[in-house]
Amino acid sequence: MSSNPADTNPQVDFKTSVCGLTMRNPIVLASGTFGYGSEIAPCFKGMSLEQVGGISLKGIFWEPRRGNNTPRIAETAAGLLNAIGLEGVGTVAMVEEVLPQLQPKPCTLFINVCGTSIDEYQRIIAYLNEKAPEAWDAIELNISCPNLTCGGLEFGVTAEAAAQVTKASVEAAGNHPIFVKLAPMVANLAEIALAVVEAGAQGLSLVNTYPGMAIDLEKRKPVLAKTYGGLSGPAIKPLALRAVHLVHRALVKAGRNDVDIIGMGGITNGRDALEFLLAGAAAVSLGTVNFLRPFAYRDVLAEMEELMCKRYGQSCNARDLTPDGWSGAIIG
């Protein structure tokens, strides 16, 4: 036994790399759950974006949007249904007002991009790449938007449409990696994942919310103004975990171990986060839990550290945790 004091108090080096982007830890704040970052951190004593690995900024279309009518959320058993309607500032304000407030970059910045046509996605990404290429790191492509030029069907539900929008986005993004955020309620998730990877996506965000609804018994009508919404929170964790595992397995089988997955869906503690890493994710995103506990990222990291130290002691390399991919390491 070594007498090195660090042995009795091992620390986990959480530094990692996702699609070539260096992150101080594998925790990302999910799009739509932390606004544009700079306006949220001042709300809390001791909060800083320099404590997380990355943040995916609230999704933008080309134009600013006010979103849906209310009610926009409904609470369900261990879950949250939302139909916010992608309220957002738009692309020009993103470049002129949001990104300047996030410089120097406090963590890895993902810009979540939405569109109602392939042209819109391409236009947004080309603009971001032209006007402020250094101000952000990667694109997260929200393909759960209805394609208005194609009958309103979501881009994310067919491999063909998902690949088309990915290809166009990759062309516009310059050197920035594209992460495609996949909708999980599809018949062929692995097929769509492989199609977007084939089209040039370097990473995948898994998963977006699951469609659902709630009904108000007294009013005899849907709770949400938009009838249907996306379910998030602990209720979807087992579903999301399966999706990550399924896609990771398909990627390995296809020889695409180079593609990194950011796993998300109902993570609330360190145990959940480690499960996603074991299922094949290279990093994890915290979403709904940010509403309940804005410092959740800090708790999750502390719990991960405690669990890893307990389980593996100082001799462990955190890479052992995942089939491959996560490069965090315990230093003793």
Binding site: C43, K45, L80, I84
Partner: protein, 312 residues
């Protein structure tokens, strides 16, 4: 979001001990020792409370079980504890969240995030008289308003409306214990009930209208010559706030309201609690915008709300 107002002060997020509980079977007042919030809060601000009371055990629960109900519940800060050593919240048991939080007892810990939102504007201190207009559990924040008003020498009167007398918080026959308590800040309370069981027969706006028109002298000098001296402060359901805003506009009184909508987070990120509004109170330059109840509110000028509008 870009048009979000600055926060008044950074919030704390932590577990705080309950020092007293006042429970009448339906309404519950919980006193929490929390000087961090007590010392910096402004009347009208709120706290988010986790609807989970941890069991009293020495060992730490490995996977805490607060996933149902999931969301924190927002409560107006009801009053200061003596010496600003903490705050109280006042709740009505209406669902799983309030039932859970209402079961807390002295010695339990409550998870609080706060203070959140905008409180009373400092410009309000230039007024000579506050008229607090409460609907139902909307009475909650007004003890703090009355204390502050008394402290700075602003006269304060409360009009408090309920549907039925059983909806009266801390009811004592045809009165409420809250009204007795607010007398200590020289704030007199006038009751209205839609059922007509006691007080003025009608809504709280009817009561206001009646006082104004008849000028009984109950609302001192509430007679139309000195409107700028008054500030109407409303808290209650949307329909009541809307009626109050329209009444205030018609009679040219300044009016602020405390918004409460279904909230996901309480600090402006989830965009659940938005209401249709205006960028400014200036009708010539104003543009439509979304107003978040949690961050633009809770306290906001009634003229910033587009009462008849919708977001889409």
């Amino acid at each position: 979001m870009l048009n979000d107002p600055e926060v008044l002060q950074p919030a704390v997020d932590g577990w705080y001990p309950i020092v007293a509980v006042d429970d009448d079977g339906r309404f519950v007042r919980i006193d929490v020792e929390c000087p961090e919030i007590g010392k910096c809060m402004v009347p009208g601000q709120f706290v988010q409370v986790m609807p989970w009371i941890p069991p009293h055990t020495e060992t730490k629960c490995p996977t805490p079980g607060w996933h149902y109900p999931l969301l924190n519940r927002p409560f107006s800060i009801h009053r200061w504890l003596p010496g600003r050593s903490g705050i109280s919240i006042l709740l009505d048991r209406i669902g799983p969240g309030t039932y859970t939080i209402g079961s807390a007892r002295p010695g339990d810990q409550l998870r609080l995030i706060g203070p959140l939102g905008q409180g009373m504007e400092s410009s309000s201190l230039g007024k000579k008289h506050f008229v607090l207009v409460a609907g139902g559990i909307g009475v909650a924040p007004f003890d703090a308003f009355a204390e502050l008003a008394n402290h700075v020498g602003i006269r304060c009167t409360m009009a408090y409306g309920v549907g039925k007398m059983e909806d009266l918080v801390f009811r004592l026959g045809n009165r409420t214990r809250l009204a007795d308590e607010m007398e200590r800040f020289r704030c007199k309370t006038y009751l209205a009930s839609i059922s007509g069981e006691s007080g003025h027969h009608g809504t709280v706006i009817d009561l206001l209208n009646n006082q104004y028109k008849l000028c009984h002298g109950c609302f001192e000098r509430f007679d139309g010559d000195n409107h700028d001296d008054y500030l109407l402060i409303g808290c209650g359901p949307w329909a009541m706030l809307k009626a109050l805003a329209k009444w205030a506009e018609a009679y040219k009184f300044d009016c602020t309201v405390l918004l409460e909508e279904m909230m996901g987070c309480g600090f402006g990120v989830c965009r659940s609690c938005v209401v249709p509004g205006w960028t400014t109170t200036d009708t010539k330059t104003r543009e439509h915008c979304n107003i978040t109840s949690c961050r633009h509110g809770a306290v906001i000028d009634a003229k910033r709300i587009d009462w008849d509008g919708s977001i889409e």
